[in-house]
Amino acid sequence: MRKLYSCLCLFLLVSGHTLLAQGNGPGVRGARAAALGNSSVTISDVWAIGNNVAGLGQLTQPTIGFYAENRFLSRAFNTAALVAAFPLGPLANGKPKSGVVGFEAQRFGDKLYSEQRLGVGYGYRGSLVSIGARLDVLQVSIERLGSRRTAALSLGGQAEIIPKQLVLGAYLYNLNQAKLAEYQDERVPTVLKAGLSYRPNNKLMLNLETEKDVEQSADFKAGIEYRLLEALALRAGFATLTEQTTAGLGFQAGHLQIEYAAAWQTVLGLSQHLAISLRLDAK
């Protein structure tokens, strides 16, 4: 067992601090979030299942999505995720009466080292406040050394300080401080994020966010989204801790939403994110 963890430590060391969000942390979900420097705690799309589960509550149609990420052009750092969200009950005042339930399956890594996640989340929107909760089953596998499994509970909230204009979001990932191993008291990161989003009109969104992992320095993130056309959005952002600058595009084609983002880290280079989501007609 000792070997497994020294191997794991080595891996984390080699991968450097740009991988802080990994290691079973909350991570990035969707190319929209990635393009905004991952300042995504106030956003309410299908990817909210991973970014801030409270945002799920605003979905009005069943939605499925696929997300792929490649970091630094290395195959070992690939992430793939499948998500699905289903509103429960009839719509009332433009929101599902009984909230929205979401599912996620995610995998990071390759044959040698991988992390898997199965998540189920629920989001509910009140008049100006949304709340959500999520349960993850996490697994770390290292080839020939075996695997470890644990469960993490997360809570999220979003509040409209000024309706539709100023939104605050907070997301607490892994509040139970799930333990991966006794050795060196290794735990899944406990992360608290909080951020503000200013949306002066329906074209522009400015996001500011801070994220804190108990054991890492604080991250400050900012993002801007400008909807140039009804069907085209431009995005840019940065994150201070990982020293990444990001940019991206989003296309809307009927029920299909296609998003792409690129992130640049001075030392490690380019990462790319692609997300596709499809809204299904409600029954």
Binding site: G126, I161, T190, T210, K212
Partner: protein
Amino acid sequence: MSRKLMHRLAAFLGLFLSIVPALQAQEYVRPAADLDRLVQELFAEIQSDQVPYEDVYETLLQYYQTPLNLNTATREELRSLLLLSEAQISALLHHREQVGMLLSMYELQSIDGFDLRSIYRVAPFATVLDGIVGGNRGPLWQRVLQEDNNALLVRYERVLQQRKGYTAPDTTSTGRLTSRYAGSPDKLLVRYRVSHAHDFSFGFTAEKDAGEAFSWNPGSRRYGADFYSAHFVVHERGRLKTLALGDYQLQFGQGLLLSSGFQVGKGAETITSIRRSNVGVRPYSSVLENSFFRGAAATFSLSKTLQATAFASWKKVDASIQTSTDSLAEFDEFSSGVLLTGLHRTTTDLANRKDLRELISGGNFTYTSRNSNFSAGLTAVDTHFDKAILRRSEPYNAFEFRGMHNLAVSTHYSYVLHNALLFGETARSSGGGWGTVNGVLASLASNVDASVLYRRYTRDFHTFYGNALSENTRNINESGLYMGLKMRPLYKWEISAYYDQFRFSWLKYQIGAPSQGHDWLLRVAFSPSKTSLLYAQMRLRVKDHDGDLDPVRPVPVPTERRSVLLFYDANPSAALSLRTRLQGTHYRENDGPRRAGYVLAQDVTVAVVPRVQLSARYALFDTDDYDTRQYVFERDVLYAFSVPPLYGQGTRVYALAEVKCSRHLTLWLRYDETHYRHHATIGSGLEEIQGPRRSQVKMQVRYKI
């Protein structure tokens, strides 16, 4: 007459325009006081656990729990609310004079300078009644029996982990046993109080701190619990304005000689909180074991404009008494000072318990002009100890009080000139030391207020119960100039700022030369609605401190502490309240490395059913060292105040339940836990805990009789 009519008309107009349904309009429903939020505004940033916040908080709470009657309140009482500007107070008094008593809270809207924001702020703490104090009252015992504000409170708390002080003692190499606490880790508080504003207040308090033992030993003056307090206060008995027997507190002038727990000092409320109110004799029911008076005090009104107060206090305080070995020494027995912790857990604590007798007497005359614009007074305080006080002979103690006797005399004044309030106090203590505080609060425009305060306390100025505005914890060896500003440039925005510059002309503990510093704060607050608040606050404090560069001959170097606070508070529905707080600090000694502290906290309060309210917080903290430690205000059981220091890396959670079991009975339950990462032990000395967690439970019951 036409003017009066106009005002009435305006008042009624306001009444009909208000959103409250017409049926309720006659009786304004007093909104619940959000004291937590008030505390956020008053204590901008808590930087130390040395300041008795608990006591200040409790005094404020007691004060705000009995609403002020806007129809009978004096100018001084209105000022002491800390929520109204001098211009608003003058406008209200003028209105009362011109039009007569207010008919309802809604009438405030017709008074100049009262915007909705100020009305909402004041509303929870004020009422409009036409009752005149001293009207047809029955006998006192009947009024006491009928009083609603009558409650018994029992609080219990305990740290769950085993601390070193409660384990079996070790044997040292000399065969002696190491020190351990005498009692159990339970902390108990029992308090009963019945009171009515302007009429009476009776109460008693008993407390046992964690580690203290219950013991009945009249020889060493221990009767069960470690600390008891009781008071009997009546007000407005003809010429006798106030009579206090038992434990009481006093506040006169700017608090240079006598100051009760009723002050908050430098904070985000940059204007009103720098002035002290002349509130006189007040009952004491808190649990700080040394800073109150025990005996009797009385205030008489000699004429309509002149009031006289006399008081005497006799109590024993904690001190470590030493016997002089030198037969030629000035004093045979002396103490290095009064011990203020109030904890009696170890044999050393118990040996020092109540070893010094303190006799304090004095009085005050205050003249208040008929229109209450001008007031002035004279205060004298005589302190006598039965054993001499001699501080350790260190250079920084060279001008500290020594001896057995101190007499201090002061004059204070307060004068309203147009839109400005001038106030001050100047005092002299025996030995020639003197201190002075003088200030102005001015309403420069309807939306701009400013304040200036100058203070100077010489290095040999000695008071024992003074606490005028200062950077030091005591009023000695300091001079400084404070300037505050508060603006409301737009309807929902408020900007407050202060700048304070100070100098210490003599050495201080761990500062081996005369030193100086400054401190500023800027807060921008935005309240998008009545129930939500968003603010950003920046604060910088530069203060000299002995550097680590040369341990043999330390030289004071400037140390810089920058802090940023972002706070969001919203009540999206009546049952739900959300608070997010981000706090960060940079600390740097001279040109040394910059160290940082960070806290992110999320609070939720939910009223599950009307009788049950649950609050919880999850916070993550990460600080480089103890200098960058963070204090974050936490919700606690009623009357308790909690700001634990957070340092290192970890999480802090708490959950608090408030259950109103019946009209009489309210129950509080609280659990909190700090979980440190990478710590094998927490704390030091007898407080040391093995393991990374420190958790505490608290239970409180209040029975309203």
